[in-house]
């Protein structure tokens, strides 16, 4: 049985349960409702601050929509169960924070290698290690990119508000399904625990994507092939009599292990990279404000994008030609657009709740003659409009 979020029965349940309207809710809840609207019907997780509210909301809501909530014995098992469930056709998710994200890295790599669609929410908290467990941060930017071993691509999106979290979660599921790949949501503890208005739409307003299934026996026999040239193999789900073989070892197009032939490895791993590279249109997303004529560009992401916007607006009021660039898909980084914007501005500020991570990506795309400066804050307290504004004034 495959539960599709757009089945009439599911639509009926959702319509009955979730009246469109504005709700005062936490960011974590917004993620959860986003997941349910996107069709997520399997959640396995392990409690951790500040992601536990996602688990709690899923435990409460999933049974209502015939979905499964599981609490596993740890985060390693959680993502493992999510992968297993995904192969049965369930849209699946887990959520965690830094320590759990570290533990999930091995199996996240497995999901990349086996091309298993799933969504992993990392609600970033102040690290390293246990750090300040109840405080938010943006310190896992590069862990999301490089946390698992070996060459691998990854897609990560990062919401900038509760409302955005609802929609970005849906987008994350759609990307995961479309490209048969895990997608990380780089959320943060500040927004996770912030209550705001979130508009819950009618399910009819939501566009939902499903993974490609094999059209025939032949496609089913090549679970890791590329029959459509888009790098995305149709996924022969378990339980349909396809006798699918799935392994995290290097495998041929038919799924069988071949860990000795260099060409097999090269072909597989490069195709998995190419799949992500050639489908930028599926996931690339950024927001721009006043970039047409900006002289000072603020590049920010996630929770910090919001005070950054406040600061840019204030700077404009003061007559400073400031602009804002917000990558919403942060991995792969929208480098080309960054390069273009970098050519037009005099100074770039990169506010982040960390000691400078996204700035290292920005650095790769901008020339030496642009002043590049981080605006960094650690300790669990978000950057404020005032602080960012001060930095803008400083380079104005």
């Amino acid at each position: 049985m495959i539960i599709r979020g757009d089945e009439p029965e599911q639509v009926r349940l959702i319509k009955k349960l979730y009246k469109p309207g504005n709700y005062f809710m936490q960011g974590d809840e917004a993620v959860s409702y986003g997941a349910i609207f996107a069709g997520c019907r399997f959640y396995a997780g392990y409690p951790i601050t500040p992601a536990s509210e996602i688990a709690e909301a899923m435990a409460r809501e999933l049974p209502k929509v015939s979905g499964y909530y599981l609490q596993m014995e740890d985060e390693i098992g959680s993502i493992a169960a999510v992968v297993g469930a995904s192969w049965t056709g369930l849209k699946s998710m887990t959520a965690t924070s830094g320590p759990g994200f570290s533990l999930m890295q091995e199996n996240l790599g497995y999901a990349v290698m086996t091309e298993t669609p799933l969504v992993l929410v990392d609600v970033q908290r102040s690290g390293p290690s246990t750090g300040q467990a109840t405080k938010g941060a943006q310190g896992d930017f590069f862990q999301a990119r490089w946390g698992t071993h070996g060459d691998h691509p990854i897609i990560a999106v990062s919401p900038t508000s509760g409302q955005d979290a609802f929609w970005e979660t849906i987008r994350a599921f759609n990307i995961a399904e479309r490209l048969r790949t895990p997608v990380v949501i780089l959320f943060d503890g500040v927004l996770a625990h912030t209550r705001e208005f979130v508009r819950i739409p009618d399910i009819g307003e939501v566009e939902i994507t499903y993974r490609k299934l094999p059209k025939n026996e032949e496609e089913a026999r090549l679970p890791f092939g590329d029959p459509h040239g888009d790098g995305v193999p149709p996924m022969p789900l378990f339980g349909h009599g396809y006798f699918t073989h799935v392994t995290g070892s290097t495998h041929k197009e038919n799924g069988l292990r071949d860990v000795y032939t260099p060409e097999v490895h090269d072909r597989l791993v490069r195709r998995i990279h190419r799949k992500i590279e050639q489908n930028r249109h599926v996931y690339e997303k950024y927001e721009e404000h006043f970039t047409e004529d900006a002289e000072i560009l603020v590049v920010s992401w996630g929770v910090t994008a919001r005070p950054s916007l406040g600061a840019v607006l204030r700077a404009r009021e003061e007559g400073i030609k400031a602009g804002l660039f917000v990558p919403k898909t942060v991995h792969p980084f929208p480098g080309e657009r960054m390069r273009e914007l970098g050519k037009r501005v005099r100074a770039i500020l990169v506010p982040e709740m960390n000691l400078g991570q996204m700035i290292l990506e920005v650095e790769r795309y901008v020339n030496d003659d642009v002043l590049l400066k981080g605006v960094n804050r650690i300790g669990g307290v978000p950057l404020t409009v005032e602080e960012i504004l001060r930095e803008i004034r400083g380079v104005a």
Partner: protein, 170 residues
Amino acid sequence: MQIRFAGIGGQGVVLAGVVLGEAAAIEGLNVLQTQDYSSASRGGHSIADVIISNEPIYDVMVTRADVLVALHQLGYDTVKESLKEDGLLIVETDLVKPDRPYVGAPFTRIAEGTTGLALTVNMVALGYFVAKTGVVKKESVEEAIRRRVPEGTEEINIKAFRAGFEEGKK
């Protein structure tokens, strides 16, 4: 307006913030509510922030509080710096000894007197705050309480809220 509730774990400070936020939401205001607390236990400080505005809100934290409602010395000491010079300080007078001008009352005793439950102190303080500031309507808060408190405890909480409101109106 930036409002900050400060106390220790167990005083229900976060719930007070959530109810206030919901009340503002009911009135169609822009509102953002956050909190800061010790890891899940009851000894440490507990802070709830509410920003209410007619404009879009860009800050995700209270930067300079217009009002600080302090229910416990520990919470007060943790955040007192954030209250504006001309801000309003409301305190639980039995448990907080402020070092600046304030208004307030023995909220815990009022709670015990009204509901028999010390832990309704949060609603008493909220009532007092609403009476003093008028930032949201009494009725909105009562509706918000009904939505947000555990089933079965609505009336007791509203009772405490009203007691605080009365005290604030004095």
